[in-house]
Symmetry: C2
Subunit: 324 residues, 2 copies
């Protein structure tokens, strides 16, 4: 498939998801009022719809034939993802997201918490219509997500955080939901266990790469989704480039990095970057990203060539090249 064709096709799927989300949220708003509108605005404010797109494509690749069968799972992933964003924004004290005021900063913290709960209940309602095994995969990875967020908090400004700790957090927080969505979609399609597992691993590898890119963007990006550059550093989050640099640097340089992390401000940005570059931490992250994306691609090897497979490969490229 030509690249331009692939991008068009991916955009078509995104538009389909957007349209369905809009319809569902309009219907929900007529039933649940303000909470549905306010929470729905967060869902509709944008986003790449990466999770639902992956679910649609994984379903297709796994042999699923009726697109209407998989739409609720795709929408469910976006509701659950939005729920975590609303609650993360409270915990991160973020005042804006995607150019809009966050719910808690606009309507107060209580409504922010409740709006997130509402989005969870809608996400689980949509996902809960599938057979028990699918629901259990989704619910398990939602619980793992919470578990990993606990671990992440425990590692805030913990300069002894290891790459293994990091990987565990990322697998739970970002990659697990990707993997569970892809596996769940394959299960809905009625695929055999090995295909379901291959798509699970595809999602996991892609998700890890996605988070690694996110970490890099936090350091290199200009305006990622309305979040200021360095948001992770300000929050004391142990991202991979920082963990790598803390491991490799010694003596004065490591001490200085530690000082910078403990009392970060914008004026220290260039110095932080030069320390990360000295440790080659940014290029190390890039190598890791390439490795995980390559592994993701290899998980598709056992599937016959088809449009869905080509499109999933293009998603891999998009994750590699994303700049927001």
């Amino acid at each position: 498939m030509e690249e331009v064709d692939a991008l068009d096709r991916l955009e078509e799927i995104k538009v389909l998801i957007d349209d369905k989300l809009e319809l569902v949220i309009e219907e929900q708003s007529s039933i649940y009022g303000d909470v549905a509108r306010i929470a729905g605005d967060v869902v509709l404010a944008g986003g790449k719809r990466l999770r639902p797109i992956l679910i649609m494509l994984a379903y297709d690749l796994a042999g699923g034939k009726d697109i209407e069968d998989i739409i609720p799972l795709a929408l469910s992933s976006e509701f659950i993802h939005s729920a975590t964003l609303v609650h993360d924004d409270i915990n991160d004290e973020a005042s804006t997201r995607r150019g809009h005021k966050t719910i808690h900063s606009n309507f107060g913290q209580a409504k922010g918490i409740i709006a997130g709960d509402y989005l969870f209940s809608q996400g689980f309602g949509l996902g809960g219509r599938y057979e028990r095994e699918v629901v259990e995969v989704i619910a398990h990875y939602c619980s793992k997500l919470a578990s990993s967020e606990f671990t992440q908090i425990d590692h805030i400004l913990d300069l002894s955080t290891s790459p293994e700790d990091y990987l565990e957090i990322v697998e739970g927080k970002t990659a697990g939901p990707f993997a569970a969505g892809c596996k769940g979609a394959a299960m809905v399609a009625g695929a055999k266990a090995e295909k379901c597992n291959a798509l699970f691993e595809f999602g996991m590898e892609l998700g890890i790469a996605f988070q690694l890119v996110d970490d890099l963007l936090d350091i290199r990006g200009d305006h990622r989704m309305g979040k200021p550059r360095g948001a992770d550093v300000y929050e004391g989050k142990m991202t991979l480039p920082i963990i790598h640099a803390l491991t490799l640097l010694h003596g004065e340089k490591r001490e200085r990095l530690s000082e910078i992390l403990h009392d970060f401000k914008d004026s220290l940005f260039e110095e932080l970057i030069s320390l990360l570059e000295f440790a080659e931490s940014l290029s190390y992250s890039e190598i890791l990203i390439a490795n995980h994306l390559e592994r993701a691609l290899s998980k598709l090897d056992d599937f016959d060539d088809c449009d869905a497979k080509q499109l999933l490969k293009h998603v891999v490229i998009l994750v590699q090249n994303r700049n927001s």
Copy 2:
């Protein structure tokens, strides 16, 4: 059934639920670690287990035969209920619940929010194993719960809150989940629509009465579940006795009531009560409670007499007489 027998039987069901909760939480803790332990402690700290007991009895009354079939739905109701408690405690800035420090006051707000999310995901995972129609009833009432909490916040210290506003909030926040649990249980038992609906209405009437008793306890009670007397008044919540008094009182007395509500402190408690008694608001609440409980009982009329029916009638009496 003798009263003492009925109480023994209800206690047996409660112990069964407690045992199952303990088992599930132990298993969860081995998978999800800290978040499962900390959130699980809230679930295990106590509570009347009213929701799961109602679900077990409704299933039995509706003709359900295999107790293991309904246990997950019963446990699910307790996880979801606990999730709302954890998040409510953040929004109410409550430092203790049932004699223990709340999660947010012990481990920080971020962990409080995430622990609630975790409990939701476990609740939905357990509830999501049922057929689509059951899941939709549960998910709908979880969304209504969020919707009603929004409305309740909008009515904080809104002295023009009407009894209709109040009823809408209570139906969503307290009674809806009771009703949905009873209906869901009847659906799992394979009961006909009319039986499912009768149990839905039973749960709704009982739930409204439960909240009305709660409102009275806030004004009359000594130590309800570790919450100080008057917690609702401090939070500016429009409970029924207060709405009633604001409607009935005129002139100086209404003005004084308004002043008291806007700047409440413990030393004003006796004066508040004397105003409520002057307006006969407490006895009005008692009459309403009796009416709703009577209506709840009448919803059981079409069911053949059996142990489950007798036990549900005893639950009605327990709700009427509860003092904590």
